[in-house]
């Protein structure tokens, strides 16, 4: 994350709250890349991720008056972005393709030639599993926070994470014979 830009974002906050367009643009530039990255890691398509980016900033500018500064600005923006991305997942109801393919053609241990790179393996996870992996392992949300955002239980979040890592381990060829 670009720390210089983040410092800029905090500095322009009072002007953003006053509705200054130049300050809004500075805030947008500061958080555009991390918001898009989070959205793209959770959503299936670039179009959805770009829509989440736009929705996030519309919400940020609408609600900025309610931001009291009790947490970091990025933390506040990131929570909005995560919620928007998860809402889009729920709305689109993507099919969980990895589970279907696994059931039909399970990868065999000797299929090392099919070993994927991490990007491909992550992309292959179901939307829900990928969202949990990203929010927990990369963004650092707790299972309680993820459960709240997904409107699911804590056990759901934990089991999705375990399932995702089991799959990633297999697809990345990291399984060790017992």
């Amino acid at each position: 994350m670009d720390l210089f830009r983040l410092a800029d974002a905090d500095a322009v906050l009072p002007r953003v709250k006053a509705g200054d367009p130049a300050a809004q643009e500075a805030l947008y530039r500061a958080f555009e890349a991390p918001v898009y990255n989070l959205a793209r890691r959770i959503c299936r398509t670039t179009e959805d991720a770009e829509d989440v980016l736009q929705e996030t900033f519309l919400e940020v500018f609408r609600s900025i008056g309610r931001y009291r500064g009790d947490g970091s600005l990025w933390g506040w923006v990131r929570t909005i972005a995560s919620s928007k991305a998860l809402m889009r997942l729920r709305r689109n109801k993507y099919r969980d393709t990895d589970e279907l393919q696994d059931d039909i053609t399970p990868l065999r241990r000797e299929d090392t030639a099919l070993r994927m790179d991490l990007e491909t393996a992550l992309e292959r996870l179901s939307e829900t599993s990928r969202a949990v992996v990203w929010l927990h392992d990369v963004e650092g949300y707790t299972h309680e926070e993820i459960a709240g955002m997904m409107e699911k239980t804590v056990s759901f979040s934990k089991s999705q994470l375990a399932r995702a890592h089991t799959r990633l381990r297999r697809w990345l060829g990291e399984e060790v014979p017992a």
Partner: protein, 206 residues
């Protein structure tokens, strides 16, 4: 020997001490296989965190700015619309108060008809605002062209609203005609805005 499941390995990495986790931690420190599995898990998470940041292919700030401005305008209408009923009521009162003892029944009937028309236009305006709200434009993304057309209509609406605010200061004889003209214009603009929003909503399959 039973090794740790993925769920148990992940629990071991969590801060805090849930029931059973101490035992799993002890096992992981004593079992080469589980310790290696835990290390691989740590490495996988580190690699996930090190993935390159993905960048948007195009700049969406113009749409965001247009959307934010439209949202602000819309919230202003809501406040204004509530005031619209008060305007109608004050004009109705004016009709009653300005009715002199020698005024003809025809003149009064005409005033009442105009008042009814104004009431009806204000009701249409509120209904159209409800339709726009139902599309929930604050929560929707728009392409640049739609955002620009909507922003232009919303700017014109804001100008009409500004003029409507001045109607109360006008001379009694001019007030009703001005109010009727401005509310009609407002309804026309709202109708156009509904078309823009509805067309966009249909295009993206809502």
């Amino acid at each position: 020997m039973t090794h740790l499941t993925m769920e148990q390995l992940l629990a071991v990495r969590e801060p805090g001490l849930e029931p059973g986790v101490a035992g799993w931690r002890n096992h992981a420190s004593a079992c080469d296989l589980c310790r290696a599995e835990l290390e691989r898990l740590d490495q996988r998470v580190a690699r996930l965190r090190a993935l390159p940041a993905l960048q948007p292919s195009r700049n969406r700030f113009a749409e965001v700015r247009a959307g934010a401005r439209a949202g602000r305008r819309r919230r202003q209408w809501m406040v204004f619309s509530a005031g619209g009923i008060a305007v109608a009521a004050s004009l109705a009162l004016a009709v009653v108060l300005t009715r002199g003892p020698g005024e003809s029944a025809d003149g009064t009937a005409q005033q009442m008809a105009e008042q009814q028309e104004l009431d009806s236009i204000i009701a249409s305006s509120r209904s159209l605002e409800g339709t726009i709200q139902a599309y929930n434009p604050d929560q929707r993304v728009t392409d640049g062209r739609t955002a620009s057309v909507a922003a232009s209509l919303e700017d014109r609406l804001a100008r009409v609203d500004d003029q409507l605010q001045l109607v109360d200061m006008m001379d009694q004889s001019m007030r009703k005609d001005a109010a009727l003209r401005l509310w009609r214009e407002r309804v026309g603009l709202l109708n156009a805005l509904v078309d823009v929003r509805a067309t966009r909503a249909r295009a993206v399959g809502f």
